[in-house]
């Protein structure tokens, strides 16, 4: 017998109807406030005016280049950061000595806002795509590192006894027993760092590497095109939600039950 829920079913997100109603209600209220003239601010268009701009934006080739750039760098930085975070986090989770020697330094580093490091990164990498990738990777590493280390540290020592009595190699103990046991916290870290990655990609495009959606938002603002600016912001928002949704669907398939006991 297999689990009653198929993998395909796990991929389909469930619709949260009350949440959807609330979101649509807020948009409607915004529209009503703008069109009845309760809010008269030249740089705050209503949702309909913003939506009206959307087809033009989505039809432009430059938009898709910008979009591709931001998405590529967010995901590449996230992937790199995740790999570093899982490897270093695993090492920290396993070795008490390593934790004792490095926790203080790592905590200080981790708590420095990534954006404060941008000037230094700009000196090292110039105002380039490397700068963006470096910042995104940096910010994506921390949540994965911290949650992996914590998750692995809390793996029941009994499981390591199991691995030893079955005479499993240390490497297989790590990959087959220890890391999978910590999959719940690792997934949480990966999800947090995915949203941070997108945020830092956009921020570094706004003030570091002049490319992608962050740069496009700046340009639309400088051109005094509020509808267009809001269009970009909406696109970023929808992308963030979509990435989160895709990640959740994938983790439901890859780790049914989120590693729960």
């Amino acid at each position: 017998m297999t689990a009653p829920i198929t993998r395909a079913a796990l991929l389909v997100p469930r619709v949260n109807l009350p949440g959807l109603v609330a979101a649509v209600g807020l948009l409607a209220a915004w529209q009503v406030l703008v069109s009845t003239g309760v809010i008269t601010f030249v740089f705050l268009p209503g949702p309909l005016a913003i939506a009206g701009k959307l087809p033009t934006l989505l039809g432009a080739a430059t938009f898709w280049q910008d979009y591709g750039h931001t998405l590529t760098y967010s995901l590449a930085g996230w992937g790199l950061g995740a790999a570093i975070g899982i490897v270093v986090g695993s090492a920290l989770g396993i070795s008490k000595a390593l934790r004792e020697w490095t926790t203080t330094s790592l905590t200080v580093l981790r708590l420095i806002p990534a954006i404060a490091l941008l000037p230094i990164a700009a000196l090292i990498f110039g105002l380039s795509a490397d700068l963006e990738l470096a910042l995104v990777t940096y910010v994506a590493t921390w949540p994965v590192l911290v949650s992996t280390a914590g998750g692995i540290e809390k793996v029941d020592p009994l499981l390591r006894d199991v691995a030893r009595t079955l005479r499993i190699s240390r490497l297989r103990e790590l990959t087959q027993v220890v890391v999978p046991s910590a999959i719940g916290p690792i997934l949480v870290g990966l999800r947090l760092s995915l949203s941070s990655a997108l945020v830092l990609a956009i921020v570094s495009e706004m003030i570091g590497n002049p490319a992608g959606l962050g740069n496009a938002i700046n340009m639309a603002r400088n051109a005094l095109k509020p509808e267009l600016t809001f269009c970009y912001i909406a696109v970023v928002g929808v992308t963030a939600v979509a990435l989160n949704g895709i990640f959740n669907a994938l983790s439901r398939v890859l780790a049914p039950g989120g590693g729960q006991r």
């Binding site: 017998m1 297999t2 689990a3 029941d156 009994l158 499981l159 006894d161 199991v162 030893r164 009595t165 079955l166 005479r167 499993i168 190699s169 297989r172 087959q176 027993v177 999978p180 046991s181 999959i183 780790a255 049914p256 039950g257 590693g259 729960q260 006991r261």
Partner: protein
Amino acid sequence: MAGNAAPQLANEVEATGFQCRGASASYGGASGAPIFEGVDFDVHPGEFVSLLGGSGVGKTTLLRVLGGLHPAGKGSQVRFAGRPVTGPPDRVVMVFQNYAASLLPWRTVESNVRLGLERKVDKAEQHRRAGRALEMVGLAKNAHYYPRQLSGGMQQRVQIARALVMNPDALLMDEPFGALDAITKATLQDALLEIQRQTSMTVVFVTHDLDEAIYLSDRIIVLSGSPAGVARNLRVDLPRDRDQVSTKAEPRYLELRQEIYNVMHSSSGKAAGS
């Protein structure tokens, strides 16, 4: 130094037995408080021996020393099949009390059972041996379930199958049935006796349950004191074919029960135990 000690005894337990001479262990390394000291006993090949004692007396630690999961103290001689135990010996597998936490919840029953074989034998062999082990514990039909879909007794059967699949010479069991209800416990005790009859494995079984120890064992080693030592080492001279009802009604069973009870009772009084 350990090599030339008691050569005759070493030969006697050469095949698949354990030998303990002056065994000790302590918490937190060699300098910590001793748990037990000067423990001497042998477990002969194919023998079923129970380590019996009150809670906290150090039975589990002694078992872990036999299984190479806890370091023996200075000067201890602990051997399996004639070789000093320095880490988990080949073909000696431990079964833990907490079955739920010792199974991997993301693996199916069959995949849990294959864990110790992976990368050691080829896939077909893994499946063949896992299938046979699951058959021995009566779970052939549950191979594709996940552990959480099974009852506690069935989960413990999975853990036993995971040990059996390694073709162990010796099975070390740490209160494996301690968390199960009386009926499940009796069923698993009989299943274990049947498996041992088929495989003639050596079994060292930790329990605090006097009746369980007598019912299952060829020999019982009672531990008591603090630091603990062997308070009594006695043969269970009951016929090997045991039965949950008739064995426990035999006069000899009741005598043994009385005798061991007295040993445990008097020593726990001395040790001011709970």
